[in-house]
């Protein structure tokens, strides 16, 4: 018997049409218990529906809002069933995200039924210094990308002998392609809040903020509801005082993920960083000692208190304990949110979990615009903070993009640098002007006008920008360029020496070619071309063609392809 129906209604689910599915089910079966849950992690298969029965759960994928489909589902038929790929189940460890996609995010009761807030209760029985020790023992490191030992950071704030201290959760998640924090906030907001409350108690903070980017309205909504719920339950009463938690929205600035810039933004100012020292723990929000932790870091805290720091540290590796959430995307079968134990190799994530085709992958990009690429030959590298840094990449916040052999690494680097250049706050010389000059140089190269001096300039200037920038944005912006230069210099040189983009991505180096032999003259391409670049006798005029790909997509016999541009 169907107990209840859960519909994955995080942003991905909604985008895939889960809202319509839910509406249709309500229409057909108004008495059924239909619950919206958060992100189940298998974004590629949305909309996902879980039918709970006495005998267990049945999962359905790519559910459509029509009668026949839904009937089959409610009859528990073997139709469009979803099975988590076996490899993925073996390799993943759903530890922090155990409850994500299982419970209604905004039901404090459901959270409590699943042991929610028991860690907080346990913590309140401990001394604040004990809690800090547990966190130190756990070996937890900052999940926002910095990898700084969390316990140590907490001790800095705890040691400050001042009454007004601030704990800030950094939910700005500015890396394009990263959605770990979004998933967490949408799916298990109470777990994050519990972690924050434990943190406030341990460090003596009496004011808390969650700085969440404005582009996450569902996360903001769920957090605000959850906060109301926990306040009503009295959970925010620590040491007899009510700690206030406020969600403040960012306004579209990647640089505000940097600690001092975030603080300035919280204060209502332009989000530019400032020099440190003084560190935020000495002088932070409105001058008060402040500490900033990432969403994922804080979501780990209840588990550390529940299981104990020692047990927690058994997961992962010696210097990188616990698990890490990754937003897996790119050229692979199973994109979505994954949680893996530290120490798992890149290859396991890419092939076993992501289902990428063996032999098809060129590299992964880890750490977004602050990170670097790691080529296929290093896929046996374990994912931990130090191993990745050695290769010139960083753990980052968890964005992991799989890049197949058909992609241009130079264009990838250019894309990331374009992002950081746009997001630079503009305060310091090396970042403001340096990244722009680097971007122009890269554009010369992808535009077919690059020279050997340009390649050398990228290396020299990139190195200086890393050294001479005020904050982490500038200090890491050149990394995608430098790491692709390190591992894929041949692609740069091919662009420069031969005007050749092997991946056929750089439009200035690519022509569109229609093979007359294969062509069946159906005329679809001529119809679909937005700039009339294809003549009636099926010749493509590359002077007019904008390389939009429409004709290539529409050709039924694959007669049209991108080829190397011929020099005059």
């Amino acid at each position: 018997m169907v107990k209840r129906i859960k519909v994955g209604m995080a942003s991905c689910g909604i985008a895939a049409g889960a809202g319509e599915v839910k509406e249709k089910m309500i229409e057909m079966n108004p008495d059924a218990e239909i619950v919206e849950v958060g992100c189940i992690g298998h974004c590629h298969a949305e909309p996902l529906v879980e039918i709970e029965t006495e005998d267990g759960s049945y999962f359905y994928q790519e559910v459509e809002p029509e009668e026949e489909f839904i009937n089959k589902m409610l009859n528990l038929e073997d139709y469009s069933r979803f099975e988590s790929p076996a490899n993925r189940e073996k390799k993943e460890k759903l530890y922090v995200t155990e409850l994500a996609g299982k419970i209604n995010p905004i039901s404090i009761e459901e959270y409590e039924e699943n042991d929610g807030y028991s860690a907080l209760k346990k913590a309140l029985e401990m001394e604040p210094a004990q809690i800090v020790d547990e966190v130190k023992t756990s070996g937890l490191r900052g999940r926002g990308g910095g990898g700084f030992p969390t316990g140590l950071k907490w001790s800095f704030l705890a040691d400050k002998d001042e009454k007004d201290k601030v704990l800030i959760c950094n939910a700005d998640e500015g890396d394009p392609g990263a959605f770990m924090d979004r998933s967490t906030m949408e799916s298990i907001p109470h777990q994050l809040l519990e972690g924050m409350l434990i943190g406030a108690y341990a460090t003596g903070a009496n004011r808390m903020f969650i700085y969440c980017r404005a582009e996450y309205p569902l996360a903001v909504k769920n957090l605000n509801i959850a906060i109301k719920q926990l306040e009503e339950a009295g959970y925010n009463n620590l040491n007899g005082e009510d700690v206030k938690i406020t969600v403040k929205e960012g306004a579209g600035a990647f640089v505000c993920g940097e600690e001092t810039a975030l603080i300035h933004s919280l204060e209502g100012k332009r989000g530019t960083p400032r020099f440190r020292p003084p560190y935020p723990t000495d002088y932070g929000y409105k001058g008060r000692p402040s500490m900033i932790n990432n969403v994922e870091t804080l979501a780990n805290i209840p588990l550390i208190i529940r299981d104990g720091g020692e047990k927690y540290s058994q997961i992962g590796t010696e210097n990188s304990t616990g698990t890490k959430l990754f937003a897996l995307a790119g050229d692979l079968e199973y994109s979505g949110l994954v949680e893996v134990p530290m120490g798992i190799t890149i290859g396991e994530v890419v092939y076993d979990i992501g289902g990428a085709e063996e032999g098809s992958v060129k590299a992964v990009q880890i750490g977004g615009p602050s990170g670097g690429c790691i080529p296929e030959e290093h896929f046996d590298t374990p994912i931990d903070y130090d191993s990745l840094t050695e290769l010139g990449a960083i753990m980052g916040s968890g964005g992991l993009i799989v890049i197949n052999k058909g992609r241009c690494m130079v264009e990838t680097a250019r894309y990331f640098l374009e992002f950081t250049t746009k997001e630079s706050c503009g305060k310091c010389t090396f970042c403001r002007i340096g990244t722009k000059r680097m971007l122009e140089t890269l554009e010369r190269i992808t535009g077919g006008e690059g020279s050997h001096e340009d390649v050398q300039l990228l290396s020299d200037l990139g190195d200086k920008i890393i050294k001479g920038s005020l904050c982490g944005l500038g200090q890491t912006a050149p990394k995608p360029v430098l790491s692709t230069l390190n591992f894929f210099k041949n692609e740069y040189m091919a662009h420069v020496d031969e005007g050749y983009c092997a991946a056929m991505e750089c439009t200035a180096l690519v022509d569109v070619y229609l093979d007359q032999e294969t062509c069946i003259e159906c005329g679809q391409c001529i119809k679909v071309c937005p700039v009339d670049a294809i003549s009636d006798d099926f010749v493509v005029d590359n002077e007019i063609c904008t390389r939009c790909n429409s004709c290539i997509e529409v050709c039924p016999v694959d007669a049209i392809s991108r080829v190397k541009r011929e020099e005059e």
Binding site: S11, P176, E215
Partner: protein, 152 residues
């Protein structure tokens, strides 16, 4: 919901006040800046500086249907720059612009967080994923027809 006067007592509410104002009108005008500066006892140039720093704040009126084109990494790999071009070709507007009739406006945004559905756009918050040119044109046409129907 606290009003502007209330918010103005604490400078750290400035961004919130600006966000609330933009929710009403879809953008922030010079007059808005003057009014908000007054409420916060700040110099207009300082408030203008905050407005112009953050990408969220628009200074020109957006279209009735605001198209956000995701240019995050996953979408970029799946061809978001093509999507931008298709929209420009079809509607005649570039990134950050509104069309002449005020119906459509387009902005490239950092990341909508729906990477598995790349490439993705959202129109007035509604997300459309797995775009091809054909799909996109149909979506735009649907909105156009809706607009005509609304206007009789």
């Amino acid at each position: 919901m606290p009003d502007l006067k209330e918010l103005g007592k604490n400078k750290s509410n400035l961004i919130k006040a600006l966000q609330k104002r933009q929710e009403l009108e879809g953008y922030i005008s010079d007059k808005d800046i003057e009014e908000i500066s007054e409420a916060f006892s700040m110099a207009p140039v300082e408030v203008e500086g905050v407005v112009s720093f953050y990408t969220q704040f628009k200074r020109i009126a957006p279209g009735k249907y605001k198209i956000a084109v995701c240019d995050g990494t996953a979408c970029h790999i799946k061809g978001s720059s093509l999507v931008l071009n298709w929209i420009t070709d079809e509607l005649g507007i570039e990134d950050g612009e509104t069309d002449e009739d005020g119906i459509f406006s387009m902005d490239a945004v950092a990341c909508l967080g729906c990477c598995s559905l790349a490439p993705v756009i959202s129109i007035n918050g509604k997300v459309y994923g797995n775009l091809t040119r054909k799909k996109l044109l149909k979506i735009l046409n649907d909105y156009r027809q809706k607009e005509e129907a609304d206007n009789g």
